[in-house]
Amino acid sequence: MRDTLKIFLLSFFINIFLLTHNLNSGDAGELVTTAYFLGVAHPPGYPLYLMLAKIIQFIPFGNLAFRTALFSAFINSINSTIMYCSIMALTGSTHSALFGFLLLSFQYPFFTQSLIAKFYPLNLLVINIMLLLIGKFLVDYKHFKEISEKRILLTFRACGLLLGLMTALHHTGILMAIPTLLLLLFLVYKGEKVPLRTYAETSIAVSLGIIINVYVLIRGSKYGVFSPVTIQTFTDAFTTILRGQYWDGSTLSIVGKSLKHPYDLVYAIKNISFVTYKVLGIFIGLSFLGLIYMYRNHRMLFFFTSVVILLFGPFLAKITMTQANITERDAYVIANQYYLPYFYVLTLCCALGLKSTIGLLSKFPERVAKCILLLVSITPVAMFSERILDSNLRTNFVSYQASKDTLIILPIDAVFLADNDEAIFGTWYLKVLGRFRDDVCALEWTANEHKEWRNVGCSYPFRRDRFLPILNKEKSGMGKLIRNYTLFSNKWLEGSLVEGLEVKSSLASFLYLYTEKESPIDLENNPQYFDRSEFIRRAERVTFPDVCFEMLSDDYLSNLRCKNYLVHLIQVAQQNEGENCYGKKQINVVVSDPDSKIDVYRGVLCLGEENKQLVKTIVELDNLTKKKNFYFR
């Protein structure tokens, strides 16, 4: 017990040391905000995570994003402690257990997920407890040859509850239903008496887990609660829980797709092999040895572990990662998060692999053998120095600062429209939760196009018909409060007015649209309504791009936002010297999207006196964003 506590504390201290101080990139802005308001996050709504995060948010120090990230650090410390205890129970070797604990703690996906506000650590914990329950059941079964009805009942009830809870979290965990069913089949095959009561009570336990999803209906349909998903009826809530808003990406269609196109499995295996090599490196060999060790000592455990590896590895890759070449975005969203359970089990195998090699040291004198073993078991510590340089979220303020800068440079009572989650989630955190610039209406493009998403970034009721006609080339009068429209885009928004209006990727780049109250504007014939110059003049003074230079982490989305700062600075420089250089030296500048390779910005920069310092910063920032390679690249 004492060792367990020490291991937990060691893990927790390391996580605290590099934990994010503020908002991190990705879904954090949305999750922290919805948790505070007891709202519903993007489908499936994540009620279990939001309820637990809400409780953590009552801690009276730090800010709300920090407290929510602290929850991830805490949960992943429990996960790594369970890893240590499991290896100790299986091998009795402190060295192997320490090795497994360190290898898990310092591998990239697990480490980064411990430092940010996200639900994957909790997802892993639920899966982890199921693995522990079934694993211990199988080990005990091997030792005692028969097992009491009470034990069978307990195991299946617990697995039932955990499976039910998985429906209120990320749905990848539902895959654990297959090993649970296999366990049941195994018991029946072995002629064990599985009482009928087991089936009934497991169903009750599953229901007790699933019932948590009632949160989605209650909170989603409540007026005034922050929820980006439209939930008015029971059907809406049901659609959300099954991720129906994502059409092809809904849980049911993913299940259907998983059985089609068997040849995709080739790409899936290629991709998962690449990702595994990136994460475990030279330790992969040990995982094979671990599986052999398991086969020799716990054959049933070996089959169970293999099924779990295949499910959370190649099978999950078949569903989520079958591209010929994975982009950085795919790697960030999928490889870095979805495969945590897969890496967890592989790490366990690596530790068992180390145990199987201990016998080889018997030829050495005892002291030498002990030293070698100690050295090998702490080798993963070397990965920690790498993590300080690529996952140091303590130094990453980009998401928070970029969201803040985006909002502060907007005109009063502006409407801000973003076409990507990263741009809007941070502004929701600041605007809705922090009440920063609550005069601004911050909307996501999708919410304006599809009725299943709700416009949540306004402090006042916002009617769709006020906004859409303008973007659809129709002439329309403006609402009373809305003075300006500001559009943000990382991509070209096709089929809309924006396409022809030089919308460029920048910090908040922009169509600055002057309007006169209640008078229809013919946008096509009145270019004077689009004025970026004043906007940029004001933006120059209040933005803080230095956050990009301070950042030690390789976070993919933060790097993208630094590119937006880059375009912003170029536009400021253009404003200073004008676009006609009149005999001054000039350079052509192009900023491209790293994934699509599309040029998000093209322009000419004059190298006059005004721009001397600015151009230096631009070049430095350009070099920095090009140098920052995401771990999975």
Binding site: I55, N63, A158, F397, R435, D438, D439, F544
Partner: protein, 200 residues
């Protein structure tokens, strides 16, 4: 008893380290903020003082000083006609307090004045851009926006959190001990949780 003592001891250790981390963040950012102020780089100073406020520690003197510095930057900026920067200062103070709320909002007694200041500056900015706008009307409009409250009810939120934990605990208890009382209490807590969710 020994176990409980050990848990308490380790609990305090974790708490101490967390507070230390936040204090270190506050002290570092405050020092950087002062340097920026000395070099008259106000944008950087605001960003660093914002970090001091966001690493919230109850009764921290550094937070009070950071607020004072932000107010002084606001006054200088307003004097020089940089209204956007003045607005950034007051919005930063206001937002940092809201982002650090728990059972209550830190420095809530002074927030009313900050709210007024935010509304005043926003109205002033509108007036400088569009001279035809009525500044007083805009001030009232902004003040209404600034004062609007959308938070969930604190007692019902706390009730929801507590009943949810008790629901999970009693369900686990039912699984472990096979006791009907636990199952019934689990259903009871579920009902309370749902009630709290409806009311919050």
């Amino acid at each position: 008893m020994v176990m409980i003592k050990r848990f308490i001891y380790f609990g305090f250790l974790v708490l101490f380290l967390l507070l230390l981390k936040l204090f270190f963040e506050q002290a570092t950012s405050f020092k950087l903020g002062l340097n920026d102020l000395y070099e008259e780089d106000y944008t950087a100073a605001i960003a660093h003082f914002d970090r001091v406020l966001n690493a919230h520690l109850p009764y921290s003197p550094l937070e009070k000083m950071a607020i004072e510095h932000l107010i002084s930057i606001k006054e200088i900026s307003e004097k020089n006609g940089h209204l956007e920067m003045a607005l950034l200062c007051v919005e930063t103070i206001r937002t940092s307090r809201y982002l650090c709320r728990h059972f209550w909002i830190p420095d809530s007694q002074s927030l009313a004045n900050v709210d007024k200041e935010v509304a005043r500056l926003r109205a002033k900015i509108i007036a400088t851009q569009s001279p035809n706008e009525n500044e007083e009307e805009n001030f009232k409009e902004q003040l209404t926006l600034v004062k609007a409250r959308h938070d969930p009810s604190l007692p019902w939120s706390m009730g929801a959190g507590l009943s949810f934990i008790l629901y999970l605990v009693s369900t686990v208890n039912w699984i472990r001990k096979d006791s009907r009382v636990s199952l019934l209490s689990s259903l009871g807590f579920l009902a309370i949780w749902i009630l709290c969710l409806i009311k919050a």
